[in-house]
């Protein structure tokens, strides 16, 4: 939306004493007012406090969080097929190999997720 700063469009309302009085009174009341410098200091302090208590939302960290989230989803996703692989018809050595391989991959992924979070 185009939003240029404009002067009051007085043509939309007839200009009369009320218009001028209102404008004069409002301008006179606040024209010389400025916020105290403390306001910015307070904003900065609150942002600092927030950054200490909350995870940073910088671009790099955001990417890590997205990666960790995807990794977690993938880890959860492979749990279902791993159960299917525990087919009793498989030879016990083969089944053990599959179970150990999946356990190991789960352990590695779990450690990676913990490191990121």
């Amino acid at each position: 939306m185009s939003f240029p700063r404009t002067q009051p469009k007085m043509e939309e309302q007839p200009l009369d004493e009320i218009d001028q009085l209102i404008r004069w009174a409002l301008l006179d009341a606040v024209a010389s007012e400025e916020p105290s410098p403390q306001v910015w200091q307070d904003i900065k302090a609150r942002l600092m406090r927030r950054s200490r208590t909350m995870p940073s939302q910088s671009g790099g960290e955001r990417s890590w969080r997205q990666f960790a989230s995807a990794l977690k989803d993938w880890t959860l996703g492979i749990l279902t097929p791993s159960e299917a692989n525990w087919d009793p018809r498989l030879a016990s050595r083969e089944r053990s190999y599959l179970i150990w391989r999946e356990n190991l991959s789960l352990l590695v992924m779990s450690m990676a997720v913990r490191m990121v979070y």
Binding site: F3, P8, K9, Q13, I22, A29, V30, E34, I43
Partner: protein, 193 residues
């Protein structure tokens, strides 16, 4: 699309650059503070609103469109925060009768001295303050900030017709109350304009 100055600052804020936020703050602090002050008539509240506005810029920076100027969004936030403040403090119940009594009790001569001008100014401000929050906000955005009806409609997130209606009734209300007592004659206006 090339980013505006605000857009470049917003993209810096997204990277966590607080200095960019400070530049934006310096650019808009006066406008936002004076608008909040005109609406609330309370310096502490206006400073709190200003502070919360810029904390929201930082918090919601991912949702801001860098190709658009920031000021409409800032005004929208400032008005919403002012509304929250007014609702919480219930300071919108200044009886207009008191203002009128003050007008009637005052001198009927034109305000020539500084004291008299101050008196007239005080009376008009109290009359404006006696308006409902919705009417007062429209009056402030239209007369103080110089926004058009379309712009005010965007800030208040309501139809232009609603803004037009609120402005009309607010002016009519002020006119009726002030002119009825014939304390403020047209000459007063030209004195100050």
């Amino acid at each position: 699309m090339s980013l505006s100055e605000d857009g470049q600052l917003i993209s810096q804020i997204r990277k966590g650059n607080i200095l960019a936020l400070e530049v934006l703050y310096e650019k808009y602090k006066g406008q936002v503070y004076r608008t909040a002050l005109a609406i609330t008539r309370d310096r502490v509240a206006a400073e709190d609103i200003l502070q919360d506005c810029f904390l929201k810029v930082y918090t919601h920076v991912d949702k801001l469109d860098g190709s658009l100027p920031l000021s409409p969004w800032l005004y929208r936030v400032a008005v919403n925060l002012s509304y929250n403040w007014a609702s919480a403090s219930r300071r919108w119940l200044i009886p207009l009768e008191g203002v009128i009594d003050h007008l009637v009790a005052g001198t009927r001569t034109l305000p020539e001295s500084t004291f008299e001008r101050g008196e007239v100014q005080h009376v008009i401000q109290k009359a404006i303050a006696s308006l409902s929050f919705e009417h007062r906000v429209v009056i402030v955005l239209f007369y103080l900030d110089g926004f058009s009806l379309n712009e005010i409609a965007y800030i208040l997130d309501c139809p232009v017709g609603t803004v037009k209606s609120r402005l009309h009734y607010a002016r009519q209300n002020l006119r009726r109350k002030l002119e009825r007592d014939r304390h403020l004659s047209p000459e007063v206006v030209y004195e100050f304009s």
